[in-house]
Amino acid sequence: MTPAFAVETNVGYPILSVLVFLPLAGALVALMLKGDRTLKAWAFAVTVVEAALSVPLWTRFDPSTHRFQFLEMADWIPTFHIRYALGVDGISLLLVLLTTFVLPLCVLCSWRYIERRVKEFVVSLLIMETAMIGVFAALDLVLFYVFWEAMLVPMYLLIAVWGGPRKVYASIKFFLYTLAGSVLLLVAVIALYLKAGTFLIPELMQQGYSFAFQFWVFLAFALAFAIKVPMFPFHTWLPAAHVEAPTAGSVILASVLLKMGTYGFLRFCLPITPAAVAYLAPVFLWGSVVSILYGGFVALGQTDMKKLIAYSSVGHMGFVTLGIFLVNQRGIEGSILQMINHGITTGALFICVGILYERTHSRLIRDNSAVGAFMPVYVAFLGLFSLSSLAFPGTNSFVGELLVLVGAFQQNKLLAAFVIPGALLAATYMLRLLQKIIWDRVSGHHHGHDEGQGDEHEAGEAHRRHLFDLDLREAGMLAFLSVFVFWIGLNPKPFLKVMDRSIAHVITQAQAVEGLPEGGMTGLMNTLFPALGHSGGEEDAAPEHE
């Protein structure tokens, strides 16, 4: 029997359960394998099979409904009404696919990078995959929370074991920030259960909670998610984690983990606490604008490539949260698309940095400048992904940014006007990075020599020996991602189509706003703390009970 919030989709096997548990099974098998190459090959095989198995999600998805598809439901802990429920809709579909497609690249980009404790690395990576897909597919709040917490330890290990020189600092910072967020998340989960008597997310969405209740639940959710995104001022764990993490860690972090926060906003905050969202949206809208501008300005000043990309992520994710809190069709379309775009582009950029790091053992722009003459293929890919990152027309990010901007200009022209300089900042820091990496050093006026016959002093020779161009593995990873850069950049319609109905539905849910407190701060206080009885002639803003 299919519940009202879902439609029947039969692909012949429980696709979501397979996707969630295949990597876990793979991790268990990996424990028994020996030999570094075997382990890496095994991990690659598992993730590729996983990606192939996720394709039916895309081909069999029915874009004409907002309801959850590929539903799987079973009782788990009946005493507390906790169920094992999985399903995807237009909001989570692309994120699940992003995860399954990025993970093989994470294995590939670690091929040479990870040389010690390969078994532990592979196991951590595969457990991460299980947890990430679980987060996007869970329809039960407890199940969601379990997967959410399950990501924490393997990610901590990825940074703390295989990280750079300051890995301990970075991993602990990551751990504490994320844990602080998830503690409050747990409080919100319990509060919702006590109120509604269910953990099933679609059922939680149908309850009309009082404003005060929504307000507190929203704050608990929002803090957890804002840390994860991260929104300014909760972003400081991100640059540290990115810089110290190994390439695969950075890619997972940027491509998938950051999306958990924005996914949470869309999945929980908008449908479950619409009144609180409506009341607090301006705070988050302007917060997003600050994130965009702040991320851009700080990225401008970076000398470390990974830090630069990390701060650019803060800016890009600002576009995503901006789109979400606009609560209109174009804005949310743009923000979901931008989540995918950011996953593709920033993931690719981290892979690019990793490739260079493997050759020069430095992440500083200064140590990596002027590689253009030695690595033309690499530079072509770096150029492409940098352009994508600065939302160059014809690439994926442009479509996302355009949609968010359309949404913003429809809603609030002043707000939107403040976003535009953010777009310029992105162009500035990316082009500067590009120019420095490709050319920069004045290579002695080359007049009188054709290519390849420039002055060849010894330092240049030594430099050149390390800077061999991409091998097939590296070129393959980047070529794979660049397909999506152009596909989404030129023909985004198929991607927008799958999310349209779900977004329209979320917006309807988010518009069910009642009982907003009036009368500014006093009104809010009266509503939130009726017992305190703030007097002052505001009696008519009667607080709702329960």
């Binding site: 160059f392 027309p393 014809g394 310029l424 120019q435 009188g448 420039g454 030129l490």
Partner: protein, 489 residues
């Protein structure tokens, strides 16, 4: 006017892109590489010209490549204006292809493959601009022009080139992100579409579009397309002259700067529309802004001794003729403006070709060094003289036709001020071109120079002489261009 919907119009856009790929693939064999470049150019020109018959009979080709969401699509459109620009760019690319061979080999430049690839890719983007059918595709190809010309400006990779290219990309990126991007979004939010209108009268804005909004959007567009080098956003152009001369010639006198002007004309006529611009009196203001640039550009050109710098400021001034003409919004004004796109192209490319030939043959860049050069390079300097006449606007060279229609336009407007500007500009043009010519043939130091031929390679001299001849031919026979403009009006 009738519409023809066909994917055929993608071919002239794709050919230069394929040429770029072919050049990249054959980079190891210079002869094959450069043959690819010339053959690709010729193929592009032929492909564009196959569209000519239908267009001159009032047909408009359209094709929607990709739709993003409602009203926002990468749409292509080929009408008279498109062919005017695409045809001229691709035709001159053939000649420039030969010229490049002479120039790049003559100076033994480095990274020639990169040079040829970017060169072809720029033409690809320029043809894309010409064939754009919506603001979105216009923005897409406009930005591609910026990014592909960036390595060309940086070509020499010395301090001067880095500074020049930084300035170049800064001007273009700042204007496009700060002005064009919000225009794109605001236009869509106001009108619900980004497709161009089907005629030049109505535009796409609803009748109740607010005056303030329209005015703001209009000026953001006018200055946003900074490739048109309207003052005060002109300064990138002289800096871009650090590029090799073939780049200055084809790209910074024909393709790139005209991408800017063409975009402004397209937006004025097909997004805002003549009616709306009339209603809010925006045409005349634009005409005066252009007039200011015309005079100032010429005045600054007078002060430059470096030949390429003088030509650059001349370009700034001449580009505004086009904007001025279209901004008059009268039939003759629009004709005069649009016909100046090909006329200026043929003449200015000749002048740059000459500057490059002088550079390659005698390593001279300053005008004060050119005493008696006419006796060493008679063909080059004869071509220079003809092209100068066209700049000045003297009959029977092409520039005269433009000036004729522009003057007619000012009379239709009954604007004495603009007429005076045109005439004054002619005098100024004479003021900075004639001395070059005089110095070449009547050297200061008195000694009667004898004819000692020392021309650059025929790869360079033949193209530059041909473009000069074409300038004269189009002075006598402007009908082809007029026909293409006729169908626009």
């Amino acid at each position: 006017m009738y519409e023809i919907e066909t994917a055929r119009i993608v071919i002239p856009i794709l050919l230069p892109l394929l040429t770029a790929v072919a050049i990249l693939a054959t980079g190891r064999w210079p002869n094959v590489r450069e043959a690819c470049s010339v053959v690709g150019a010729a193929a592009t020109f032929v492909a564009a010209m196959t569209l000519l018959p239908a267009v001159t009979h009032g047909g408009v080709y359209t094709y929607t490549l990709f739709e993003f969401f409602d009203g926002v699509a990468i749409r292509l459109r080929v009408d008279g204006m498109s062919l005017l620009f695409a045809g001229v760019s691709s035709f001159l690319w053939i000649l420039a292809g030969f010229y490049c061979v002479g120039y790049m080999r003559g100076l033994e430049e480095h990274a020639q493959t990169r040079f040829y690839v970017c060169y072809a890719a720029t033409i690809f983007s320029a043809v894309g601009v010409a064939f754009s059918g919506s603001l979105l595709s216009l923005y897409l190809f406009y930005e591609l022009v910026s990014i592909f010309t960036y390595p060309l400006v940086m070509h020499h990779q010395d301090h001067e080139a880095y500074d020049g290219s930084r300035k170049y990309i800064t001007y273009l990126m700042v204007t496009s992100k700060l002005l064009l991007l919000p225009v794109l979004v605001l236009t869509y939010v106001t009108t619900g579409t980004l497709d161009f209108a089907t005629n030049i009268q109505t535009g796409i804005f609803p009748a109740d579009a607010g005056r303030v909004l329209v005015t703001v959007l209009f000026f953001m567009s006018l200055f946003g397309y900074a490739k048109a080098a309207i003052m005060p956003l002109h300064n990138w152009l002289p800096s871009a002259m650090v590029a090799p001369t073939p780049v200055s010639a084809l790209l910074h006198a024909v393709a790139v700067v005209k991408v800017g002007v063409f975009s402004i004309c397209r937006v004025m006529l097909y997004v805002f529309g003549v009616d709306l611009l009339h209603r809010y009196g925006l045409g005349l203001i634009t005409a005066y802004i252009a007039a200011f640039t015309i005079l100032m550009g010429s005045a600054i050109a007078l002060t430059k001794d470096n030949l390429k710098a003088r030509l650059a400021y001349s370009t700034i001034s001449q580009l505004s003729y086009i904007v001025l003409g279209v901004a008059m919004l009268t039939p003759s004004g629009i004709t005069g403006g649009l016909i100046h796109i090909p006329n200026h192209a043929f003449s200015k490319i000749t002048l740059f070709f000459c500057a490059g030939a002088i550079m390659v043959a005698h390593r001279k860049t300053e005008i004060s060094q050119l005493d008696g050069i006419g006796y060493k390079m008679p063909f080059t300097m004869a071509a220079f003289g003809l092209a100068s006449l066209s700049m000045i606007g003297a009959p029977p060279v092409a520039g005269f036709v433009s000036k004729w229609y522009l003057a007619l336009g000012t009379m239709e407007l009954k604007s004495l001020g603009l007429l005076v500007v045109l005439l004054a500009s002619s005098l100024l043009n004479a003021g900075y071109f004639v001395p070059v010519f005089l110095r070449a043939f009547f050297p200061r130091n008195g000694g009667v120079a004898r004819l000692q031929m020392a021309e650059a390679s025929p790869f360079m001299v033949v193209p530059l002489f041909l473009t000069a001849v074409f300038s004269v031919v189009f002075g006598f026979y402007p009908d082809l261009f007029l026909k293409l403009i006729e169908v626009v009006r």
